[in-house]
């Protein structure tokens, strides 16, 4: 890799991978809970919740970044409180980039997990119940393992989508080398400098490679999900 990428470039690559990993794994419990809620329950306002979860798919990422900046800025309602009480700061930090990526890729995870939950025969959990399994036992030993391929598909899809996030990150946490300059931001930066096309091309090829790897993994996970439930 050293022969192909310069140190700042590999830094951007590693940062992208770290931010995406933290984003998708951090969002996973919430995505699973949301998917469970949407797949298994009925409540007033469900359509609204469903819509809200999917809003990041259609909203301009820049708008999401802007809203996050308002909410989590050091003088924002959430950001101020977090900084004063817990010493946590999202703005201009790689954790903020992870937060933005998590929100934007949340619908991918919820969708994949929800589909796999809906494919599980509800009779199986009823059978487990008559065999003495209480709710968390059924969740851990029946629902979760059967939803695992869907969870994997959601993680991989969200991870791949997160690697490409640009607008929300640059708006919310800016473009700080080594802190928030992910692959897409590095490409953008390279294009701003005269003669940066070669670097932009290398980083773009790297992005294409990563995207292919993760989309293949996602497809394999989905195939496995279909086979288990067949």
């Amino acid at each position: 890799m050293d022969g192909f990428l310069t140190p700042p470039e590999s830094e951007a690559l590693l940062l992208s991978l770290r931010i995406s990993a933290v984003a998708v794994f951090g969002a996973l419990p919430f995505a699973f809970a949301a998917a469970l809620l949407l797949a298994r329950t009925r409540f007033p306002g469900k359509t609204l919740v469903d819509g809200l979860i999917h809003v990041p798919l259609v909203l301009p990422p820049v708008a999401i970044g802007f809203l996050l900046l308002i909410a989590f800025g050091t003088r924002g309602p959430l950001g101020g409180w977090l900084l004063d009480h817990l010493g946590i700061r999202f703005v201009f930090s790689w954790t903020g980039a992870a937060l933005a990526s998590a929100i934007i890729t949340f619908p991918f995870q919820v969708r994949a997990i929800r589909l796999s939950l809906e494919a599980i025969d509800p009779g199986l959990t009823a059978a487990a119940q008559t065999l003495g399994a209480v709710w968390w036992d059924r969740l851990v030993n029946i629902t979760l393992p059967l939803a695992l391929p869907g969870i994997a598909a959601g993680l991989v899809t969200a991870f791949a989508a997160s690697l490409g996030e640009f607008g929300a990150i640059i708006t919310f946490v800016s473009n700080i080398p080594g802190e928030t300059r992910t692959l897409p931001l590095a490409i953008y930066t390279a294009l701003q400098a005269p003669g940066g096309e070669a670097e932009a091309m290398r980083l773009s090829l790297m992005s294409i490679g990563l995207a292919l790897i993760f989309m293949t993994l996602a497809e394999l996970a989905q195939r496995r999900a279909r086979r288990i439930n067949a």
């Binding site: 059978a127 008559t130 003495g132 288990i228």
Partner: protein, 366 residues
């Protein structure tokens, strides 16, 4: 180990109103047409359906009493359920499926019971397999074993054979018979097949449009005159408990029952074996005088108890001592013979079906 069930519930346009008891260990058939409410009753006993009003007692423990606001959730009812579609956990091996309920049971059956159930159901060779590698009949057997190992105080079988073809069904029935004869727990067997009921059940509860309309021992109900009208089908015939008393040199086996003796083609069962016999209603001819010089091996003397005519057919209930038989003849014959309650007749039994223990010996361990 008795079970009492009393339920009332109204769905849109359908009312459930049933009262029955499982008086003893053994198979009680919940018999009725599709849509009569059988599965709902079973779900209420298992606890997966909560009726508006009712009381359910399993082995002396109240698991539901709406008047006292008692509702024991399914996971603590100790009601083993076998579903029509088996519902094996697809991500677990057959062994893990079998042990799912056992691991969670309290009190747990001793581990020797695991091997006994595996042997009883012939599952030895299947243990490492995944459910998707099993045939329909194998799935049913695993589901049965899984429920048995959860230390249930009642076994609920919701049409466990309905999803199987005739061939598979005849493979499973012997296992169910063996279970009936060896397991000492009450079993509620949901079925819409009178043949299955006649073969397996000790007692019957007939459900019609959400109501329990008839209940009693299989011997009484199947030879009763109410059932054909309620079931809208011809009588299936008598079920008779008999014992092997002798094997004669002429190739026949004598089977004694309460009220007479029947002869069948030689059986392999030793003298003293208890068997269940079935005599179909259309396999009986009636005569006013003892017939002589006929090929039938079985002629039983009895009395007419009651007659029910429906159209061109007449169902005649007979008593041979305390044992009841039922014959289906034409109304014309009934009139010609001037059959009436109390009249002595001879029943010429053309064929006898032998069920159980004999069938046990031929169980394949696949």
């Amino acid at each position: 180990m008795s079970v009492e069930v009393s339920l009332r519930h109204a769905f849109g346009g359908f009312a459930l109103d049933v009262d029955f008891a499982l008086p003893r260990p053994g198979v009680t058939a919940l018999f009725g047409a599709s849509g009569a409410g059988k599965s709902t009753i079973v779900a209420a006993i298992a606890g997966t359906f909560r009726p508006r009003e009712g009381r359910i007692v399993i082995a002396g423990r109240e698991v539901l009493d709406t008047a006292k606001n008692v509702f024991v959730p399914p996971q603590r009812r100790r009601a083993g359920m076998v579903f029509q579609d088996a519902r094996l956990f697809p991500h677990m091996s057959v062994r893990d499926n079998l042990l799912f309920g056992w691991r969670r049971a309290a009190p747990k059956a001793d581990s020797g019971e695991i091997d006994r159930v595996i042997a009883l159901l012939g599952l030895e060779a299947l243990l490492a397999r995944r459910p998707r590698m099993l045939s329909g009949g194998e799935k049913s057997r695993v589901a049965l074993g899984r429920a048995l190992l959860s230390s249930p105080q009642i076994l609920l079988l919701d049409e466990p054979l309905a999803a199987l073809d005739a061939q598979r069904r005849s493979e499973i029935l012997p296992y169910l018979e063996r279970l009936r004869d060896e397991a000492k727990l009450p079993m509620l067997y949901v079925s819409h097949s009178l043949d299955e009921v006649a073969r397996l059940a000790d007692d019957i509860v007939v459900i019609k449009q959400g109501r329990s309309v008839l209940q009693g021992s299989v011997f009484d109900v199947l030879t009763g005159l109410e059932l054909p009208a309620l079931a809208g089908a011809p009588p299936v015939g008598a079920v008779i408990a008999a014992t092997v008393v002798a094997h004669s040199d002429d190739g026949l086996t004598a089977l004694a029952f309460d009220g007479g003796t029947l002869f069948v083609s030689r059986l392999a069962d030793p003298v003293g074996t208890r068997l269940r016999l079935r005599v179909r209603a259309e396999e009986i001819m009636l005569a006013l005088e003892e017939p002589r010089g006929i090929s039938a091996n079985n002629v039983l003397a009895g009395l007419v108890v009651a007659i029910a005519e429906s159209g061109l057919q007449a169902d005649v209930q007979l008593a041979c001592g305390p044992t009841r038989l039922i014959a289906r003849i034409t109304s014309a014959s009934a009139r010609r013979l001037a059959l009436a309650p109390g009249k002595p007749v001879f029943a010429i039994v053309k064929s006898v079906t032998v069920d159980a223990p004999a069938a046990h010996r031929a169980l394949p361990s696949l």
